[in-house]
Symmetry: C2
Subunit: 319 residues, 2 copies
């Protein structure tokens, strides 16, 4: 492997001059530049980027923490992040951590160790305090509401939108409303449960713990939801499902069983995934790709702000 020292020797200049040519610095004469360029050409030279990183203290690498990549929510978020990364010539280090907290901490470690310049945490499991400790080592951006915690974030207000969806169903006459989430852990789920409990409180409605169904991430989980529904003494008349693909699974299951939607069961999906449009599912439109892009840009520029992304309910035919 040839290095700049070799190049310097070959082209009869110093290493500094070679470095200047490599980095397009001004103040280097045309002849010398040509000589260096020629040497680079001849030797098929390649810069050792690790040396550059060590010297500069930066890596042009951004970490992305997410539990899984094969659900629409995270896939679209990642799509938005990756798109902006591509535009800005930044590389992404993927931490697909499958809800393992220790791996989340590992990502924080990598920031500390300067292997990555910044970090986007799409879904958090560790304590906020731990994240706080690490912001000194690089930019960290969260995808949850952190306005009062002085941590950078781009987020949607899950409490607000969930409450809104519940109100919508209530206006339509529903009093027994269940819902599904991906995982019970995570700040989004907490916010949703809070909204749910506040809603019940507001209208003096009873709380049934089995109305909250977790582990609903994939299409086929729609089947599971319907099974659970059957096992309930008092069945809900409406469901809020936090992914359209799960909602679609429910619809297909209902079709098989002859349950008519929305007459016998109302369904609100989430994300406004393409499948929601095709199957006419009433849903919450969340601009996930845009959200991902904003996450990237905020991490990229190191802004310490909190940006809320607005969402809206799209009325279709399942309520």
């Amino acid at each position: 492997m040839t290095n700049i020292k070799d190049l310097a020797k070959m082209s009869g200049v110093s290493v500094s001059t070679v470095s200047r040519v490599l980095n397009n610095h001004p103040y280097v004469s045309a002849e010398k530049k040509a000589a260096v360029l020629k040497a680079i050409e001849c030797t098929n030279y390649n810069r050792n980027i690790n040396a550059v990183h060590l010297s500069r203290g930066k890596t042009q690498l951004m970490g992305v923490v997410l539990p899984v990549t094969d659900t629409p929510y995270f896939a679209l978020l990642l799509k938005g992040i990756a798109k902006r990364a591509l535009e800005n010539d930044y590389k992404l280090v993927l931490f697909q951590i499958d809800y393992a907290e220790e791996k989340e901490i590992e990502a924080l470690q990598m920031l500390k160790q300067k292997q990555i310049d910044s970090l986007i945490i799409c879904s958090r499991k560790c304590e906020l305090a731990l994240i706080q400790e690490h912001i000194q080592y690089g930019t960290i951006v969260l995808c949850e509401k952190t306005t009062e915690k002085s941590l950078p974030s781009v987020f949607i207000d899950h409490y607000e939108i969930f409450f809104q969806a519940l109100e919508y169903l209530y206006q339509k006459g529903h009093k027994k409303i269940g819902y599904s989430v991906g995982r019970k852990t995570g700040s989004n789920s907490s916010l949703r449960e809070q909204a749910y409990r506040d809603f019940l409180e507001k209208y003096k409605l009873p709380f049934y713990s089995d109305y909250i169904m977790d582990d609903c991430l994939y299409f086929e989980d729609g089947e599971k939801v319907m099974q659970r529904l059957r096992s309930m003494d008092i069945q809900p008349t409406a469901l809020i499902i936090t992914s359209d693909q799960v909602a679609a699974g429910i619809m297909i299951e209902c079709q098989k069983e002859g349950i008519s939607i929305p007459e016998q069961l109302a369904v609100i999906g989430f994300n406004n995934e393409p499948i929601a449009k095709m199957m006419n599912i009433t849903t919450i439109d969340i601009p996930l790709v845009e959200l991902g892009g904003d996450l990237f840009l905020q991490a990229y520029h190191g802004y310490n702000s909190n940006k809320q992304i607005s969402v809206k309910l799209i009325e279709r035919e399942t309520v």
Copy 2:
């Protein structure tokens, strides 16, 4: 930032001893080790990983090239890769390159520059010769049949399976068969077209160029397929669709229009995605997660082999 030099000074040993402690080398006395450990504790020391990389010439980073991450095919492949990476404590650098060849070359560059130790190319656009040139810099594993090109790979035989699907439809009485692909570029698509042409040749069937439909990646593209079908003078009686989610889109569209499947239109999907099971779609089962895992392991161990993953047709109710 404290470094090993500081630690050495603090604990009254040499930098080498500190390094040994850091790397769990044997032959270091308990007292000195304790002293170093204490110094590490006190100073909240962190190793600068870039310096380690420079010194070692390795980064523990593996690159993954793929066009998009939000289609089931690539999402599941990535899932398999990420799973193995997690197990083996390896980090992934994601090149979500959106079919841009120059970005593919950039990944090759990063291998050359030692920013990544190895590279998995899930979908290729650049010349094989270019890849050949780069294997000297690190392990590269492809996800396509490369048996004769002496390039490492884990693959499925798209020609064979496509031909088999065509034969299956022919046995069922279909003579006008169309198909869809994600992109026309890419080796998989070429193989499929070859199988298609050979099939037509074998049974002396006519070739209609509009029977090959590209840009079918997402659920909503099912709508597009049906539109194209309507515009044809002679409509196919059967379709091979290279993603179950597109096939699902087609089924929903057909349901809306009152076209009965398989009576009026037969459909074979691909990948055996969860949606295929729920909607009873006849499909080609491809163990994508396993395939992804094998891609990782081969890149990880640097094996120079060619592993074929077997697939099978799953008969359900759409043919």
